[in-house]
Amino acid sequence: MMNRNCRATLRFLKRSHHQHNPSLLPSATTPSSQFTSVTGFDENFTQLQPNIVEHQDLSFFNPLRNFLKNKQLGIGIQHRCYGSMGGVVQRSPRFSELNDDDVRYFEEILGNKNVIQDEDKLSAANIDWMHKYKGASKLILQPCNTDQVSQILKYCNSRCLAVVPQGGNTGLVGGSVPVFDEVIVSLSSMNNIISFDKVSGILVCEAGCILENIMSYLDNEGFIMPLDLGAKGSCQIGGNVSTNAGGLRLVRYGSLHGSVLGVEAVLANGTVLDMLKTLRKDNTGYGLKHLFIGSEGSLGIVTKVSILTPPKLSSVNVAFLACKDYSCCQKLLQEAKRKLGEILSAFEFLDSQSMNLVTNHLEGARNPFPTSLHNFYVLIETTGSDESSDKQKLEAFLLGSMENELVSDGVLAQDISQASTFWRLREGISEALMKAGAVYKYDLSIPVENLYNVVEEMRSRLGDAANVIGYGHLGDSNLHLNVSVPQYDDKILSQIEPFVYEWTSKHRGSISAEHGVGLMKANEIFYSQSRETVQMMTSIKNLMDPNHILNPYKVLPHSITS
């Protein structure tokens, strides 16, 4: 059965890459032997040869869909899996299989309690938050300190056992779960806050600390985290750093590349790189910590993080506004950056379809403008040190925007609970999407002028077959394009991909603004990075992880990492 997505990717690669770079083209074998397994081992491990694909039409057999389509887990959760990547991935023969000696060795170094083979825990750790990707790992390891992580990796490297570092398992691109039988290394037990300097605001903590817990701790001290995202109750700081998480406050506090001052990471061969500085400025040599921020666990496992936290400011105001069209939203953003300037801390937008989705599917969510229909909604948050002057500034800006007809209506939150209600409308969209059925999720960075065009084009492409919604961090030019359908359908998928990637590439955008590449977009990386850049990434990967044991099949195209 043809998987049009993969064929289109191949055609794209053929077009832009010449024949003397065979390493960048996915290897192919004859159609009959090409098959996949995401659920376990296959009897035949076909040796992949670096063939140059010339003319052959490859058939990608996808047992994933047939096998898992309507499978029910014991607890009654519908398994919703679709494999746009399922058709391409094969378990690499370079990795060994786990055996009893390995388990015994781990028990020796970690203790029995931290070597987990329990069915329930495994099934939870093998599946991602969106219930899209399911692995078949047989072992979870829970180290308690960096030394144990180092011993684990040293051993796995020597045995060629593939490893998946796992934090809160809230990623949206399949990067946090095994693809086959990789050993899961969970950082959840390493959840200590090591130190906090009240003067500088520099926090040092272990990678397994849950973001919301860190936020509560800092709240007591009068500080806040420079990032905030919907997954905060489950996600861990190690994962946030490894994926360079963006979130709702990036427009004010910048990306983690700026706020993370130091990182302690363990390389594939067990070497511990202690770059855990607590210095605001340190220009001594190459900035290696940046390699670990955003590489999604493929270059090393982050074990400790030192991060600069901003002081908590007392005056927070949230306004929820209605705009009649997208160009008003855009102009409003420009005005906000100018008029609110230093106090602007969040600028989010959602379209009317998103609002309808949230109010229909989420308990207690109501539209602040019940009587009229608006096309777009904008949420603006300001954070400053002086309540009355901030409120004055915000009111003046909002009233001015109303007079200039940038805003058709708006409400200003009068207390914290009203502010949370407004935030819920924006943060609850992901949850509402999950309740509405199946969702194809895309996270794109597009220049602000064209940002909404892709939503409209997608809507006209899909027509009545799907509910296309657009929302996101307008302040960062980051669109979350979601296609909500009653169930996964390859016909719809083929209308979406590769169109959405090609469109983004044409407008010089990024196919993954903040969610990362993971498994979902590993082969699509060429839409946003040049051949030479990916070649350099490959060289670095080969240098730091020559056996490719760290989070295989992800981030870089599969031909490279197999």
Partner: protein, 240 residues
């Protein structure tokens, strides 16, 4: 008929309260302040009665330091017609508030007094319906029917006007302050009084001795057998 509503500026109810180290009170420095949620509900009810045509005017009253004017402006932005601010920089105890309110009622003569949580009816000798979860006004008969949330269920009272009503959470869901209304609120009048002008003496019969946090809840313990449970109940909890 006029409706008078009292609004109080308090620590935002979503804020985690901390006791001051010297135990004289709670920390209010740099803490977000907002309108008391019960006062919001009271104001919302007054506005709904006015919008249904049964009242001519809604007056919002607040007592406290000058920052209370911010809260009054919020009330005006929600839809109150005018505001009254009684300036008092010391803390006001409930009886003082009631006395001041009585004087204001004598000046303004409202037909209905809707409050969040405040005692006043005794001083005015008016009927009152507290913990109201539903209010129905009959202007012709000058009677208001109030459903009250009591421990055993709902009690329905019929009160002759003028009357006092205090609110319960289930009464309504307050509206948001919309931008057009915030704009209009800037031109609505706020009249200022001091307690002296009203001939009320603020003296408190109460003295706060100490403010402490409630004892922290200890975490639970998982016992491994019934015997252990019995042992703990007997020897540690002393309940059997």
């Amino acid at each position: 008929m006029k409706i008078m509503v009292t609004i109080k500026r308090v620590i935002d109810y979503a804020v985690k309260i901390r006791v001051k180290p010297d135990k004289t009170g709670v920390v209010t420095q740099n803490v977000k302040m907002s309108m008391n949620p019960f006062c919001e509900i009271a104001l919302e009810e007054a506005l709904r009665i006015k919008e249904s045509g049964l009242a001519s005017e809604v007056i919002a009253v607040s007592m406290g330091p000058s920052q209370s004017i911010d809260t009054l402006r919020t009330g005006l932005a929600m839809g109150a017609d005018r505001g009254i601010h009684v300036e008092a920089n010391d803390s006001l105890y409930p009886l003082s508030v009631a006395k001041i309110l009585k004087k204001l009622v004598e000046i303004e003569k409202p037909g209905l007094l809707i409050l969040g949580k405040q005692m006043i009816a005794g001083l005015l000798n008016w009927p009152q319906g507290t913990f109201a979860s539903k209010v129905v006004l009959d202007k012709e008969k000058q009677v208001v029917t109030v459903d009250r949330e009591v421990d055993d269920g709902i009690e329905t009272l019929s009160l002759n006007l003028p009357a006092v009503i205090t609110t319960d959470l289930r009464l309504n869901q307050p509206r948001y302050a919309t931008l057009p209304n915030i704009m209009k609120a800037k031109s609505k009048p706020i009249k200022k009084y001091t307690p002296e002008e009203l001939n009320v003496e603020i003296k408190s019969d109460l003295e706060i001795v100490e403010v402490t946090e409630p004892p922290k809840r200890k975490s639970g313990v998982i016992v491994s057998s019934v015997d252990e449970l019995i042992d703990k109940l007997k020897n540690e909890a002393n309940v059997i």
